[in-house]
Symmetry: none
Subunit: 470 residues, 2 copies
């Protein structure tokens, strides 16, 4: 490590930060909520905005890619190195965001970003527009520091528009464009670090299987005095399904669910234990009053390395003011199963389907759909590209980098599988950033460290990792 390039990078970033933040704010103003069909046009506008911005950044190629069946568009950009031996890097992120509305409790309009106290507030500030956008300034800082006119690596960006909806068309998209996406390494820019004072590199993500179950009992709401206690109640049956999801030890009770799970190694459990985990602080970030989970595992192990079953929504019957004495006609569940390396999405889907069918009584008709699935992924701690990433991040943060995993899910495993490339995770978000919540924000100093890490990484990767040897 020399002082000179690091200072050049820092000065370049400081100089360009105001314009960079103005641009990011303009992007955050586009409410690209992929879950809301009424906002499909905004997702498209977000894609077009980004493609324009990447062209302005210097990428010679920046295209809006359509997805199949009228899905929401992704953005692809490419900037060849010019060096014959340069490795190819594909950076992944997403430009769609979670739903958000002022009425949910935001201090300001979630789509009208606000800078205050060193933070940028707004839906997508951290998840994931902010963390995609730091690469635009990062690559320019890399060029400024190295004096190059093109990156030291063949740099590709793929920014999808359906991540918050379970990436339904992402697999097909990357298979269709596998040749143009071909890379030696994939950098996922959609995760976080341990904390502002404990920078970390993430080594894997959980997968996810989304599930909606609709239960139908009487053909209309019926009087609970006249009929209650003598016919099946779909709300009761929905609740019994949920209650049956877990054993008393809070393991997932669906038979076959744990098949193939890659268990934690002793080394990983030791490294996790080095992290300054403070349960009270973690609970405060989790906005929760107590921990609860699978017996025999620590909180970090539960959220990073263990599969789960979670209820995201449940509804049925009368939910207004006062009472209504009915047996409801229907009840509904939205569930997500988080999966870890080694679990097979199709097998879990089959296990859940069979389990639900056999638990419902006669008289309850059901429908079960799995609107989306994302595979888990995991990169070994000793992979050279992972070491390169940790080194670049160490230069930006000027301290030792530890390792984590991500409990959330992204299409990392698809990229790993289709492109046959290892997946690394570069994220500067912190747990307090409020992903999917009211008041989502990004810390501006960390955003700058993200830019700086990206600025170092391309030269480090090109110089230290013999991609042809993999």
């Amino acid at each position: 490590m020399t002082t000179s390039p690091d200072s050049v990078v820092r000065e370049f970033i400081a100089e360009h930060t105001p314009a960079f933040l103005d641009d990011l704010a303009a992007w955050l103003r586009i409410p690209s909520v992929s879950a809301d069909p009424a906002r499909a046009g905004e997702v498209r506008r977000s894609a077009e905005w980004l493609a324009d911005k990447l062209r302005a950044t210097g990428f010679p190629v920046a295209e809006v890619w359509e997805t199949e069946n009228g899905g929401l568009p992704a953005v692809f950009a490419e900037w060849p190195s010019g060096d014959a031996s340069a490795p190819t890097v594909l950076v992944y992120g997403h430009h769609d965001v979670q739903p958000a509305a002022r009425e949910d409790g935001w201090a300001n309009d979630p789509f009208e970003p606000v800078v205050a106290d060193g933070r940028l507030y707004g839906r997508g500030a951290a998840d994931d527009k902010g963390q995609v956008f730091f690469h635009t300034l990062g690559v320019r800082a890399h060029l400024a520091a190295t004096g190059r006119t093109a990156p030291a690596v063949n740099l590709k960006l793929l920014v999808e528009g359906e991540e918050e909806s379970g990436s339904p068309h992402f697999g097909a998209l990357i298979r269709e464009h596998a040749e143009r996406l071909a890379a030696d390494v994939v950098i996922i820019s959609d995760t976080g670090m341990w904390s502002e004072s404990t920078p970390t590199v993430c080594t894997g993500m959980r997968g996810m299987l989304e599930c909606q179950i609709d239960l139908y009992g009487p053909s209309q709401d019926i009087h609970s005095g006249s009929f209650g206690g003598a016919v099946p109640n779909p709300a009761t049956e929905a609740a019994r399904l949920v209650a049956g999801l877990h054993t008393p030890e809070r393991r997932v009770a669906v038979p076959g669910f744990y098949e193939g799970v890659v268990e934690l190694t002793a080394q990983e459990r030791e490294l996790f234990a080095e992290l300054p985990f403070d349960e009270a602080e973690w609970l405060s970030v989790a906005k929760s009053r107590a921990t609860l989970g699978e017996e025999g595992f620590s909180t970090l192990e539960r959220i990073w390395a263990r599969p789960t079953a979670e209820v995201n929504g449940i509804w049925g019957g009368y939910t207004g003011p006062g009472g209504k004495t009915i047996v409801p006609a229907d009840a509904h569940l939205k569930l997500t199963f988080r999966l870890v390396a080694g679990q097979d999405v199709d097998k879990v889907r089959q296990s859940v389907t069979a389990w639900v069918a056999e638990r419902l009584p006669a008289g309850i008709r059901h429908e079960i759909v799995f609107p989306g699935a994302t595979r888990p992924c995991l990169t070994p701690l000793d992979h050279p590209a992972l070491q390169s990433l940790a080194r670049s991040m160490g230069r930006a943060f000027e301290q030792k980098i530890l390792f984590t995993r991500e409990g959330g899910s992204g299409p990392a495993a698809d990229l790993q599988d289709v492109l046959g490339a290892p997946v690394l995770f570069l994220g500067i978000s912190v747990p307090s950033d409020g992903w999917h919540s009211v008041g989502e924000k990004v810390e501006l100093d960390l955003l700058a460290k993200g830019v700086e890490t990206a600025a170092h990484l391309w030269a480090d990767l090109a110089g230290s990792w013999d991609s042809t040897a993999r």
Copy 2:
């Protein structure tokens, strides 16, 4: 039983039916919808109309009674027997009706009654104006048949105006007027019979305890990938409560719930079994595909004589289109417990409160409220007044009278408790009458049987039941 008085009664009824139906139609034209604040004036007009009509019928006392807090008025009428030893009977009914509008699908204006095919169609025809009104002709037929100038019993009528709105002021009303309402027996004229071909007397109603439970986990919705599997989820816990409400045998699992329950006698079970119950037909009325309930009991026993716990509504988390990967901040349950004779409402409330509190894990805060309660009531089959009612009905219908109970709940138990009198149910409505539904009607031949039953009942009660011995 002699032929003579029965023929006199029938002739008298036949002669006066046209005028009786004209009068009933006039009352049905008053849209006394208690749920609609804009129609409070119509409810008052209905009360005044009825008081006038009762005076015209011969009742020396007929008053409109106000209810507390500006509630809707009831009607009280009284016709003393003149015989020193005459028992006192209080007939209960209501003059308010459910909402109805032509746009709901009625063939005619629901407040413009129509006679067709031996039926009188209109809102309130069966529930409950028709069944209140048959007493006006009934008492005159009784006088005609017996040659009396006043009834053989001290006859009182209480016709409330808020039954379809949950009788919010009824308890206070009867406590305030307990002395004037004092009676040896209460006749509820607001129920139905098994069917047109199987006349029955109802012997009791289930009570009800309403309950709302609100569960709070994270202080806001949190990311199910980042935190799921490590903190308690209020939707999961709400579901676990519901699932825990019943044993695998579908008995209510709350400890102490069945304390005091008056079990069915062998005679009652035998008599219930004599009813021509057709499960397929019952399921079609219940709009359900299968029966399900407490093991060891028939469908009729389950809905009439067994207490239940029913989910009327459940909600928590994301319920919109698409998915939202959250651990929800809160989840909610609306439950009703149907109670049978012998159960103590306060004890059930305490049992449920304790049961909920001990089942929730650390980290889930909860609130539990019981917005309303109605006590159960039951009159034994061998009670002399019940025998008298069955006998009178047998004369009217000229066939054997069987017995039912009512699974729903009403203010009968209040009358029983406040007045210290047994409660009987005299109703001639049938399930096809469409209470609360589009096309409500009453069968004219059954309405005449109601008049006839009332005409026999007062003499039978006075002659066969020594009320001073109770």
